[in-house]
């Protein structure tokens, strides 16, 4: 067999898979005269569980579909052909995985709002689902903590606590609880649970004394060496290494899969985070990405170069749809439904989707109900993200007099919607909405962008593939991301404060191709101006007195608008967005009509 090319520039044909919990998705990326392009896509059911219990069966099936569609021979029997020559073979194969429930972790730290929160950020950023956060001050009694550790059966534990030279007692206490629980890993019975210790250096020895005999203990740099600084990198690297060495190695067929790939397999969310960081860095922008699935919703953000990821494990559109109702409450959900519906009927509909998660809305009213639920799932997931994407707590700061007045303090969210440049949505309910304007509406209603924000959806959810590819070829990943991954919806221009409903909000002039389109909005209205994909326009907005579009009250806004399949959306409903109770259905219908979101 010929060797795989080793230099990035020699990679002309790339095949990538994402082994999801239900579907394995394969994409083909080829170097064309204009650069790297994603050309074909194939998929097959994931085969981690019985009766197959071998992930590579699903990968081979997805390759087979890719071969059929592209005409390229990728496989020689069950072997990948390297390198690419003409219409045969590929130069590299890379993959991500979230099959078998992804990476499930438990994290622990001394103070819930400090080291425990840093540990949570480290685990989430590494692509894990955090099953629980233990802390010395979490209000649970010792025996409750021990019982919890024993019951949860995570894939891995991240233990932190104490700054270097700080508390030892509390860290060792956590280690004692862990030892008493003697936890067993979720997969496999004949190996010890991996535990990463990333706390106070001075407590390493005492922690090892208590745990070394019972778990697979790995010590790494303290993730909070001083209160003023987080050092999450070493803990995340260790999580990835142990994920490959222990967790993946226990999953059926992964040993074989690991021998096929040309770069380490990444947990799917870690790969998405990686591509987001790469894009934010290369383009110098702040961005938020969301992936709403059937069971979970992931939110990613990069603000000022700081990356955060959260996963809302029980917010989703099928398996977890009923939990959206439970968490949001009926009134919040009903406010988005543009017609009257009986509560009992709505509850039964939601539960029926939960027990038959693969069904699709056939009637328009059912689509509207599902999109109402999606708004609440996205809103709640984003609220959780904002709560975790915060500055470091516990940091003492000297304040000037003006700072004391504006109540600014450490621990505030770093998500600033006025500084957000790009909002990217992904997942079936957004990527496959029958009209793109519905996706735009969902993103605007749930994230409530302020000022000027570009909107996009991931066409076929290829961010995981591009994230793992970025490890070996950043440029190829970025080119495909810009050309084929994103479908630009357009730009949203929104008020950042509230006004009196019905009063004048702002006038605008949109200049493109030598023509100027003018319009006005009243507070509470929405409006759409078409601006095609690849087109730009100059926008000048004059707000009414007291109205703020991000430049200050009553101050004019000038910006370049980027077009898309939807266009430029003007949103004069104000922030925070309040859905009026009076004439609710009529008003919500009016907003949808302004964007041409539904037929009729």
């Amino acid at each position: 067999m010929a060797e795989r090319p080793s230099k990035p520039d020699d990679l002309n044909v790339i095949v990538a898979t994402d082994c999801g919990s239900t579907t394995t998705k394969a994409i083909l990326i080829e170097k064309k005269p204009e650069g790297y392009r994603q050309t074909f896509r194939g998929e097959a059911p994931t085969t981690v569980e019985a009766p197959f219990e071998d992930v590579t069966r699903g990968v081979l099936n997805a390759f087979a579909e890719l071969e059929e569609l592209s005409g390229r021979r990728i496989l020689d029997g069950e072997r990948i052909i390297y390198p690419a020559q003409g219409n045969v073979g590929v130069d590299i194969y890379v993959s991500t995985s979230s099959a078998g429930g992804g990476l499930q972790m438990m994290v622990a730290g001394v103070v819930k709002q400090m080291t425990a929160e840093s540990a949570e950020r480290a685990a989430l950023g590494a692509g894990a689902i955090v099953m629980d956060v233990l802390a010395a001050n979490d209000q649970r009694l010792p025996h409750q903590k021990i019982e919890l550790i024993r019951r949860l059966r995570p894939d891995m534990v991240l233990l932190s606590g104490g700054t270097d030279g700080g508390t030892i007692t509390h860290v060792v206490e956590l280690a004692e609880f862990l030892a008493a629980a003697n936890p067993r890993p979720r997969l496999g019975h004949d190996y010890k649970l991996p535990v990463i210790y990333a706390g106070n250096k001075a407590a390493r020895e005492a922690v090892a004394e208590r745990l070394a005999a019972k778990v697979e203990l790995h010590a790494t740099d303290n993730l909070r060496p001083v209160l003023e600084r987080e050092n999450l990198g070493p803990a995340r690297t260790e999580i990835h290494e142990l994920f490959l060495k222990h967790v993946m190695a226990q999953a059926p067929g992964y040993q074989k899969l690991m021998s096929w790939v040309g770069a380490p397999i990444m947990p799917t969310p870690a790969a998405v985070g990686h591509i987001m960081q790469t894009i934010a860095k290369r383009q110098g922008i702040n961005l938020i990405g969301v992936d709403i699935g059937g069971a979970t919703t992931d939110v990613f953000s990069v603000f000022g170069g700081t990356f955060n990821r959260t996963v809302s494990a029980n917010l989703g559109m099928s398996y977890s749809i009923s939990n959206v109702l439970a968490e949001a409450g009926l009134p919040n959900l009903l406010r988005w439904v543009p017609f009257d519906i009986d509560e009992m009927d709505l509850r039964d509909r939601i539960k029926n989707k939960m027990i038959r998660p693969t069904t699709v809305p056939h009637l328009l009213v059912e689509l509207k109900v599902e999109q109402a639920i999606a708004r609440e799932a996205l809103r709640l997931a984003f609220a959780q993200h904002k709560a975790l994407a915060v500055g470091l707590k516990g940091v003492q700061r000297e304040r000037s007099i003006s700072e004391s007045f504006d109540q600014s303090m450490a621990g505030e969210t770093i998500i600033d919607m006025r500084r957000l440049d790009l909002l990217v949505g992904s997942g079936g309910v957004l990527s496959h909405a029958p009209r793109r304007s519905q996706a735009a509406m969902l993103l605007i209603d749930s994230f409530q962008p302020e000022g000027v924000t570009r909107l996009a959806v991931d066409s076929i959810f290829m961010m995981p593939h591009l994230g793992v590819l970025a490890q070996v070829h950043e440029k190829a990943a970025e080119e495909v991301f810009v050309r084929d991954c994103l479908i630009n919806l357009g730009t949203c221009v929104a008020m950042v404060n509230q006004g009196k409903p019905g009063a004048a909000a702002f006038d605008y002039a949109l200049e493109a191709g030598g023509q100027t389109r003018r319009g006005s909005l009243a507070v509470g209205e929405m409006k759409l101006e078409p601006l095609g994909v690849g087109e730009t326009a100059k926008l000048a907005v004059t707000p009414a007195r007291g109205i703020d579009l991000g430049e200050g009250r009553g101050k004019a806004l000038e910006a370049t608008m980027h077009g898309g399949v939807v266009g430029v959306v003007f949103d004069a409903r104000g922030r925070p967005l309040v859905v009026p109770e009076k004439n609710r259905a009529e008003i919500v219908n009016g907003w949808a009509k302004a964007l041409g979101a539904y037929p009729g």
């Binding site: 919990s21 239900t22 998929e43 097959a44 059911p45 569980e49 019985a50 579909e65 078998g100 429930g101 010792p142 025996h143 021990i146 019982e147 030892i168 007692t169 509390h170 060792v172 206490e173 004692e176 030892a179 008493a180 629980a181 003697n182 005492a206 069971a295 029980n314 398996y319 977890s320 009923s322 939990n323 109702l325 439970a326 968490e327 509560e343 009992m344 009927d345 509850r347 039964d348 509909r349 939601i350 539960k351 029926n352 989707k353 939960m354 027990i355 038959r356 998660p357 693969t358 069904t359 699709v360 809305p361 056939h362 009637l363 328009l364 059912e366 689509l367 029958p434 009209r435 037929p599």
Partner: protein, 374 residues
Amino acid sequence: MAHAYTPGLRVTQRATVRKERRLPIAGQVLVQRGARVQAEDVVARAELPGDVATVNVVNLLGITPGEIHQFMLKKEGDAVGRDEPIAETRPWLKWLKTTVRSPVAGTVESVSAITGQVLVRMAPRPVELTAYLDGVVAEVAEREGVVVETHGAFVQGIFGVGGEVYGEVALAVDRPDASIGPGDLGAEFADKIVIAGNLVTSGVYERASALNVAALVCGGFHDSDLRRLLGYDLGVAITGHEDIQPILIVTEGFGPMAMAEATFELLKSHVGQRASANGATQIRAGVLRPEIIIPTREAASAPAVAEVAMVGLTQGSRVRIIREPGFGRIGNVTALPPAAVQIETESRVRVAKVQFPDGTTVTVPRANLEAIET
């Protein structure tokens, strides 16, 4: 392509059912391979490690962690009784003495000179595993558990609540679309698995509970009643651990829904026979549906449940519509157009044409069809 339809629920008169009965931790298997067992028989037993009680001795005695060993009356590995002293100070004046007593009976597991904490492990908790089915022990995994095998009728529901029960099958309705009120249930239904028509209301459920009914099997149930029954909104469909009586098995879905004719007729043909039922449901990762198993004496010629391959939709397939419009209607597939078709929502999806017994035909997304396997 991924299959775009829901594999049907199993409803069959003759099946071989194998149930793995596995201990949570290694223990003792009490039966031999080939032994005939009853559902209630204990087949394996284990002892779960006891709970741990923590005692912060240094705080209670007002000493430093490094001094703890000087004050301990018990050392690691020692047995202690409830309220037995485990540590005490030794002052000059006896009445100034402070004693720390164990809050539980158990064994001293650790004494920490860093945290000053003493952990006392309570006695192990025994767990016993029953056979669940009337059948034969087909396999024994030493120290881990057994596989019990039986032949008989097998019915899966779509959703359930509550764990394993056993009892005789009884009918409370004469038609699959009939509904009952609380007054229709009498003392004769105590300890039975009761087939209760198209909808069980909370009133019916409460009456059944008062009568000690073992299980209620129905076509539909309202989510608002489920919330009342559980005391919370069920967010994710992982059930089986609820301590409720009777358990509930819903065969069709939420809201009033006639039980599928085949399901009803099959259950009706086994009235008076002993059955095992389990409401446990898990819809994500390794789908688990609630079930009723009615063992029969004769060996089944049908394949084992786990070995039945999922069948795809073909022309002539008997299907049930599982989403509005027409939720619950049963018909036959007359065509499977290969190209995607635009539906009312403007989505383009793959569809099937379904003909109902009255001769009318509708076009339905394939994702909204469930093959009825028999």
